[in-house]
Amino acid sequence: MSDHPSDQPILELQGVSKTFGAVHALTKVDFRVRSGEVMALVGDNGAGKSTLIKGVAGIYPFDEGKIIWEGSEVHIAGPKDAAKLGIEVVYQDLALCDNLDVVQNMYLGREALSSLRRLDETTMERKARETLKTLAVTTLQSVRQPVASLSGGQRQSVAVAKAVMWNSKLVILDEPTAALGVAQTRQVLDLVKRLGSQGLAVVIISHNLHDIFEVADRITVLRLGQSIGDLKVSETTQQEVVQQITAGELSHVPGVPAEVIAS
């Protein structure tokens, strides 16, 4: 529970690449995030943001490069490997079941059981309440109401709570505020800040620079599958980030060998 990010990154990617046929989605990208730090991942459409997080989440592994988790190299071959390490992803479309209630969703696929393999509703409800309380998710009327009856911000909060209740160390949020109104965005941004201050590493993908400057400690800019820079929010401006997103200098031009650019 430190307020200051530790120096050693919890996750470090070294020179990861991913191609889909002829398309270079990622080219030798370096990326690092520390515990207690909110790292924003920005870039235009097609810059490789989603490919990067899907690689970390084990949905499709990188073609080359190293993943270093807590100081040692790991292989993430599937979503279960990622979950085992403590990496949880909250996807854009939330992945909640509308017909199930908050507790049922938070425990979906990892239900607590009592004797005779019965669902242990009491334990699940108690722990779900505790998690929501530590995250200060306080606008829910009841943890037993179906997710269908929640607002967008409340759903996003439940999805985040679902991700952090499994001793996760790194939470990746894909466009968490994209579909939300002003008040609901506020609610989710506050939640993201709390995750960081509770010592988790957070990666947030967003197109909204205003939101990013509010919650993030650092920004990694991707452009055309390459990492353009790793900026400290306190030392940069929105203009500079926009400039990097749209016209940041590439070290490799897709299809052109690096030596040609250098010469």
């Binding site: 909640l96 079941c97 017909n99 199930l100 009491t122 309440r129 200060a136």
Partner: protein, 419 residues
């Protein structure tokens, strides 16, 4: 820069709701108020069906005073049983948002296999083996159809429509040139035609109520220990009281005629068993999850294909059991077994009972409630001596009404943000 002012974002939420989720126990009046809010936004629960059953009873009793006699009540239990049993399997399929059109003839296959194996001078297997083989056949058929749907990706409608035709053919082949197979096995015939002794009926029914009370008590105690809010105790007591009285009425009425049929007990036992599976096991939870959002279920690590295959297996097995009950009622199986109205009656029972066709919502007991409605209409119109044509038209209209209620309440939930 952070402002931790709680944001009031839901204008409809009562102001007291903002803050930590409350851990106070609801009172009965809170509960009633909550139910009324739910009703207005389309959470109809069992209300339409209860009203429907009462209206049906009043109508038929006013037209023919034989409808509400003890003898006819026992008939009703026997008539509704196959519909309810097959309907319970259908509930599982509907919870996935799928359909199984093959259950009619799968029930025919189940009944026919059981009857053939028990033919005197035939295989001479024990009764239990005949029943297990018939149930296994239903299970196998369901698993195959489920696999074709889940793994190959053929829509369930098409797979089971093909099944509807193919299993009809299998029934014809099994029964063959005999035309009708008469069942002489006393156990099989006894399922639908024999009854519990008066005392046994009391013990079974009120014993079940006591068991229900004990389970409720254990749940309340465990929640209180964990500091979680409980439903009002008075509500639980009212429910237990209602079940005890209803059970007593059923036993008294049955005992004044032929007694409580074994098949009635079987039906209730199956309902309790499958309700336990849907509400208290991970499998049941995953069925609801897949029906709600298959993608979310997959991302939560649920093996969606396996859940789907097992659900169709359950549907097939329950269909075969329904077929055995049907065969028991008629003490025979003919080439027409599993045809006629049984398929549509079973699906209609689940839907009329309140299980949604859109997936993710429904209960096992809806099959029983719906079967009461269907069997009452069938039985009542029979007493009024109307033609089969009229029967089908009326049942069709009732089904249409039930689906309309389902669709409208879904729209109500959507506009109230509860869809």
């Amino acid at each position: 820069m952070s402002t931790h002012v709680p944001i009031v974002e839901d204008p409809e939420a009562p102001s007291g709701a903002i803050g930590a989720p409350s851990v106070e126990n609801e009172t009965l009046s809170d509960y009633v108020r909550g139910r009324i809010v739910g009703l207005r936004s389309g959470e109809l629960g069992n209300i339409p069906i209860m009203v429907g059953i009462i209206l049906i009873a009043i109508y038929f009793q006013s037209r023919n005073s034989n409808f509400l006699t003890a003898g006819n009540f026992v008939n009703l239990i026997v008539q509704m049983a196959p519909i309810a049993v097959i309907g319970m399997g259908i509930v599982f399929v509907l919870l996935l948002g799928e359909i199984d059109l093959s259950v009619g003839f799968v029930s025919g296959v189940g009944g026919a296999i059981c009857a053939v194996l028990l033919l005197p001078g035939g295989t001479s297997v024990p009764t239990s083996v005949a029943i297990i083989v018939a149930l296994g056949a239903g299970l196998g058929i369901g698993l195959v159809q489920g696999t074709l749907f889940a793994k190959v990706g053929i829509p369930s409608f098409v797979v089971t429509l093909a099944g509807l035709l193919a299993w009809n053919g299998v029934v014809l082949l099994i029964v063959g040139s005999r035309g009708t197979i008469v069942i002489q096995d006393s156990f099989v015939n006894g399922i639908a035609n024999n009854s519990l002794s008066h005392i046994a009926a009391w013990v079974v029914v009120e014993g079940s109520v006591l068991l229900y009370a004990a389970i409720q008590y254990a749940a309340v105690r465990s929640r209180r220990k964990a500091g979680l809010p409980n439903v009002p105790t008075s509500l639980i007591l009212i429910r237990i009281g209602v079940f005890a009285i209803l059970g007593a009425v059923v036993v008294i009425v049955c005992n004044s005629s032929r007694g409580l049929p074994y098949v009635g007990v079987l039906m209730i036992a199956l309902m309790l068993f499958w309700t336990f599976i849907t509400d208290r096991t991970t499998f049941g939870r995953h069925v609801y999850a897949v029906g709600g959002s298959a993608e979310a279920a997959r991302r939560a690590g649920i093996r969606v294909d396996l859940v789907r295959i097992m659900v169709f297996g359950i549907s097939g097995m329950m269909a075969a059991l329904g077929g055995i009950i049907l065969a028991s009622r008629l003490s025979s199986v003919d080439t027409n077994a599993g045809g006629g109205s049984i398929l549509l009656y079973s699906i209609a029972a689940a839907v009329i009972g309140g299980t949604s066709l859109f997936g993710g919502r429904g209960t096992i007991r809806s099959a029983i409630l719906g079967a009461i409605v269907i069997a009452s209409i069938d039985n009542g119109l029979g007493l009024l001596n109307v033609s089969a044509g009229t029967k089908f038209i009326v049942t069709g209209l009732v089904l249409l009404a039930a689906v309309t209620v389902d669709s409208l309440s879904r729209r109500g939930r959507e506009s109230a943000g509860r869809a």
